[in-house]
């Protein structure tokens, strides 16, 4: 079956291609987009190109409703950010917004129609206790009181257990680096702090530079092991690469930066799979520069199979069994890469036991 949503992100707006040419089945597109959390993004892009009126009335209603949800999301994120910024500013803790919230406040390309729930921030490791105390005193309470989980997060993870606002139930993830320290990838978080962009909120609030934002997004997608929103995250990368290109930024510097942070592999996967799935224009020289990080022929074929399946949007119709299998294998692989076996086996056994005995529902 023709996948409307993939076609849309491959061709829409490129060389002025109109939605009338690309979309054959609006009903299918709306359903796939909703399943992939991309309804608001499609609506945003159509509106941006003044093509809303070309959409038939019924699907147009769904798109404009998704835009209303998107706008409400921005309002509530800005409200949360005002609170978080005030708390951390008073505590004298500088912090970096990550992911969704960072896209919104920096008005980068990936902000377009991006709807999200949790807010993620990065603070330096030696200030994380101070940040937590300040946040707790202002109504952001730890979301889990389970002793194992508390210890697990604080010992092995790149973040403290998620904080939840007592009144509004919103969730805040406070990180000290972008990937678990036990992981095979070891980016030096301190280096991220050398290359920040200021934000107009308060003087202690920043976002990552565009390059680091892309590297973080790629690391998260290709090493995080979760693909429920994989296709959405891939469109984030596609839009960020396009922005990078439009700003005439230097690819040599970018690859250099990836090398400096030891994140060449996530960058390699990101350029390869955005290019393969969404036809993101990536200059040939970039592939050349990353050639030495390329896995061998057999591994390349295996990764292609796994990622190209796992990154497919969630379908209501004809979901291929390969998608589920690939996602599961990449989930296992991500844990493998995140933790040495002597940590992983006890952790997964405990998780399985908790699930079996019904003490954990997710």
């Amino acid at each position: 079956m023709r996948c409307e949503i993939i076609e849309f992100f491959r061709y829409y707006g490129k060389d002025g291609t109109s939605c009338e040419v690309i979309v054959k089945d609006w009903g299918g597109l709306i359903r796939q987009a909703r399943g992939a959390n991309l309804l608001a993004r499609i609506a945003y892009l159509l509106k941006e190109r003044d093509e809303f009126y070309l959409v038939p009335e019924k699907p147009r209603l769904h798109l404009s409703n998704a835009l209303k949800i998107f706008e409400a999301n921005i309002r509530s994120v800005n409200w949360e950010l005002k609170d978080i910024t005030n708390v951390l500013n008073d505590a004298g803790v500088p912090f970096v917004l990550l992911k969704g919230a960072a896209y919104i406040v920096s008005s980068c390309a990936a902000a377009k129609g991006r709807v999200f729930g949790d807010i993620d921030i990065l603070v330096s490791k030696d200030l994380i206790d101070k940040a937590e105390v300040a946040l707790v005193h202002n109504g952001w309470i730890t979301s889990s009181l389970d002793a194992y989980e508390q210890k697990y997060y604080r010992t092995w993870m790149h973040e403290i257990p998620p904080l939840r606002n007592l009144k509004r139930q919103s969730v805040l993830d406070v990180h000290h680096t972008i990937i678990p320290p036990t992981s095979i990838l070891k980016p030096d978080a301190k280096k991220l702090w050398h290359n920040l962009n200021a934000v107009n909120l308060k003087e202690t609030c920043y976002t990552l530079s565009l390059m680091d934002m892309i590297l973080h997004s790629a690391t998260h997608l290709f090493y995080g092991g979760e693909f429920e929103n994989g296709f959405r995250d891939l469109t984030d990368l596609d839009m960020l690469f396009n922005q990078f290109d439009e700003q005439h930024e230097c690819w040599e510097t970018f690859v250099g930066r990836a090398r400096e942070l030891q994140l060449e592999l996530p960058l390699y996967y990101a350029v390869r799979y955005t290019n393969k799935m969404l036809y993101t224009p990536i200059p040939d020289k970039v592939f050349m520069m990353l050639k030495s990080y390329e896995p061998n022929y057999l591994m390349r074929k295996i990764y292609d199979f796994l990622y190209l399946n796992a990154l497919m949007p969630n379908h209501t119709s004809d979901e291929s069994i390969y998608i589920g299998v690939s996602r599961w294998m990449l989930y296992v692989r991500s844990h493998w890469l995140k933790m040495p076996l002597y940590l992983l086996v006890p952790h997964l056994s405990r998780k399985a036991w908790m699930r079996l005995t019904g003490k954990e529902t997710h």
Partner: protein
């Protein structure tokens, strides 16, 4: 063509393969399910609703199936999904029909921001609508069912759809859900009431659904002008007192009872403001359904 005109074998084939398309108020819904109690629920309660053809745009493509685990074999469960999204945990199989109602409520409440959606029953007479918002247990559904049995037109028992374009209320006259004693109260109140799909032991107690009358379905596309908002509360021994309330207070109560006030932002604020200005607003403590209905009959336009 209506659902009741479909013969049994076509119905079964439709609902368990491609799905059964129904026009439910302003929405088109396609339901796919092989769970027998869902089929019974539809035949018993949705017979008068129109079918939609395959090539029409479907607003909500939903399905009720079996969760993919061992529960397929013992203590069977059903799970609701909407475009591959599962908003609820699985429920015991006998509740699958009610799950369709809850699932559809969820779809409408979360995806239909062309309306301000108020958690309220709403009935119409002579083109004017009375909105009955109420917390669960306030007796709004019972009052609504009694009004409908007494000749008022049902617009909705659960969600009032106030158009943001023209300020009118659009009907979505799905079956009225009645809980526990209300089932017998309405059966005793009127012999016109057909209550089926009765399921005990749900999270809300025993649950039944009252079939929508034909006269509500024949003018399903005709909206009504809101004229009154009445906050009902069933109170034992009260004397059916209709008490006008302060409009600022009413505003806050409607906002609290709205599913999508937060999504609509300023637009939602202005819609409620206009609604409150245009309507008379009351609190209503009632005890006797018959006296309550008589009181409603006295409303002029």
């Amino acid at each position: 063509m209506r659902l009741s005109e479909l013969n049994k074998s076509n119905f079964t084939r439709c609902i368990s393969s491609d799905g059964l398309g129904l026009k439910i108020g302003p929405f088109t819904v396609c339901l796919k399910s092989s769970v027998p109690s869902v089929a019974e629920h539809l035949i018993g309660l949705y017979g008068g609703f129109k079918l939609v053809s395959k090539d029409e745009f479907i607003d909500f493509q939903v399905s009720i199936g079996f969760p993919n685990n061992l529960r397929r074999f013992i203590y069977q469960q059903a799970i609701f999904s909407f475009d591959n999204y599962y908003p609820f945990l699985p429920l015991p199989l006998p509740q699958a029909g009610a799950m369709f109602e809850w699932g559809l409520n969820w779809c409408v409440a979360n995806q239909s921001h062309q309306y301000l959606i108020i958690h309220a029953a709403v009935v119409e007479r002579d083109g004017y609508a009375i909105i009955l918002p109420g917390v669960p247990g306030s007796g709004k559904s019972t009052l609504c069912a009694a009004l409908v049995c007494s000749g008022w037109r049902l617009l909705s028992d659960e969600m009032t759809l106030l158009s943001l374009v023209n300020g009118r209320i659009y009907p979505i006259p799905r079956p009225i859900s009645l809980k526990n004693q209300s089932i017998d109260i309405i059966k005793n109140f009127s012999d016109k009431a057909v209550i089926t799909s009765i399921v005990p032991n749900t999270i809300k107690g025993t649950l039944g659904h009252m079939r929508t009358f034909e006269k509500c379905l024949s003018c399903i596309d005709i909206p009504a002008i809101p004229s009154r908002i009445i906050f009902p509360r069933y109170t034992l021994g009260s004397n059916n007192l209709l008490k006008p309330i302060n409009k600022h207070h009413a505003f806050m109560k409607v906002a609290e009872n709205s599913f999508n006030f937060n999504v609509l932002g300023a637009v939602g604020f202005n819609a409620i403001k206009k609604l409150i200005v245009d309507c008379d607003v009351y609190e209503f403590e009632y005890h006797s359904l018959r006296e309550a209905i008589m009181l409603f009959e006295q409303f002029g336009l």
